[in-house]
Amino acid sequence: MARPDRRDPSQIRALHCVLGQLNRVDGSAQFSAGDTSVLCGVYGPVDVKLYDEKLDRAHIEVKFRPDIGVPTTKDKWVEDAVRSTFEREILGQLHPRTLVQINVQVCQGDGSVDAAAINATTLALIDAGIPLRAMVAAATCVVRSDHSIIVDPTQEEADSALSTHTFAFSNLQTNSPAYVDSRGEFSIDEYNACYDMCMAAVDRTLAFMRTVVEGKILKETQTAL
């Protein structure tokens, strides 16, 4: 079954990223994969409400807003996904009794929005200089009605899928994923195939992120005395 945009099953969409375009936050990144575009702005470490204050580490707060309409339960799920992923990756012990606030705004949604949110958050945190154990990138796979598996689905492809799987991996040399979300009916073989396909897609996304970050660092370095 050919894909509407004629991509290979394991081919992700063209990636694009702009770092530091927001000037009132501590770090920002706009991450796009094809027509899906997500903007993330990060504050931190900043002052925290007494209620949320943690004595030994930073409090991580995530706000996720969809492109259209008011936030619903589905968006709260993405907030939780981003928060649980980055609570492990952000080295909050270095900044106890502070807040790291992650604000994610979907500019344009066309499938794989949760993966784009995780990618945009990693880049925004790096832009802000918040200490991270590793870079985390995510990718989504779906199992289609003919049981074929494709990576980085558009909204149209995801709507007609039997099951959807989002995996995030870090650039540390471990095999365990940083985040897993699977929905729908699927077999263990389909799950494993999605796992492998997402891992390959994440490797390419991590390489892209590294290029973007290196470009920014080199641009800053050439102005140093």
Binding site: D26, G27, Y43, G44, P45, V46, D47, V48, L91, L94, H95, P96, R97, T98, L99, I126, A128, G129, P131, L132, R133, A134, M135, S170, N171, L172, M209, R210, V213, E214, K216, I217, L218, K219, E220, T221, Q222, T223, A224, L225
Partner: protein
């Protein structure tokens, strides 16, 4: 540019040295995990081979206080035996009333709310609120620290502030040749400028802000064009 090594979080750093069992010193941006040294910030990796010192230099906007650094702060209020000062960090800093040159119990300074001060960070760690002092505690002299009257304070990135602190900063030197002004640069990304008249102050502030991504030659050219438009 050939020898610039850029690292990103998660990179393993090769800290192999010739001597076995030597002590490694890890600066900002690096941690030790399971016997390996990992980067936790994105930036340029610096290494000093004679002292086995490694650190990562990357630009940021949010200030994290460290002892001994000069900062520009704004007084928020008086709080018992000191002032609460906003230095842009997660927690406001405490500036004791006696931490000024010549201050005694009878002769305390009187700073208004909203006053700008140039101070030195005397205490900074992740567990306590930062503390400042407006004098050199060893000599008792102010050494340039204290209240900054008149003038205008603006924000810049932390990397930009560090470049401005260099005596050879191109934009400040190019401006100083033509326009007389006073400047106080805080490593917390706040810069105070006093050039007398408002128009001159605005000109100096704009020139500094413009020079964020320019190198020395471009900065000089930009200042020349800005002054020429006057």
């Amino acid at each position: 540019m050939a020898d610039v090594k850029v690292v990103v979080p998660g990179d393993v750093i090769d800290t192999h040295t010739e001597e076995e069992e030597s002590v490694l010193r890890l600066g900002p941006g690096l941690i030790q995990q399971a016997g390996k040294v990992n980067a936790i910030a994105a930036g340029v990796l610096h290494a000093s081979s004679d002292t086995n010192h490694f650190w990562v230099v990357g630009n940021r906007r949010r200030y994290v206080p460290a002892e001994g650094e000069p900062v520009v702060g704004v007084v928020l209020g008086r709080h018992g035996e000191g002032y609460r000062v906003d230095i842009g960090s997660a927690h406001d800093a405490l500036l004791p009333l006696l931490a000024f040159e010549g201050a005694t119990r009878r002769n305390k300074p009187n700073l208004a709310v909203g006053a700008t001060v140039y101070a030195r960070v005397s205490v900074a760690n992740e567990m306590m609120d930062p503390e400042l002092e407006c004098f050199n505690s060893h000599t008792g002299k102010s050494e340039g620290y204290g209240e900054l009257t008149q003038g205008f304070t603006f924000k810049c990135s932390l990397g930009m502030a560090r470049r401005l602190l260099n005596a050879k900063a191109p934009v400040l030197n190019a401006l100083g040749d033509q326009v007389p002004f006073e400047a106080a640069v805080g490593v917390n990304g706040r810069v105070w400028i006093n050039a007398g008249a408002p128009e001159k102050t605005i000109l100096v502030v704009n020139a500094i802000k413009n020079s964020e991504y320019l190198d020395g030659k471009q900065s000089k050219q930009m200042v020349k064009e800005l002054l020429g438009k006057q």
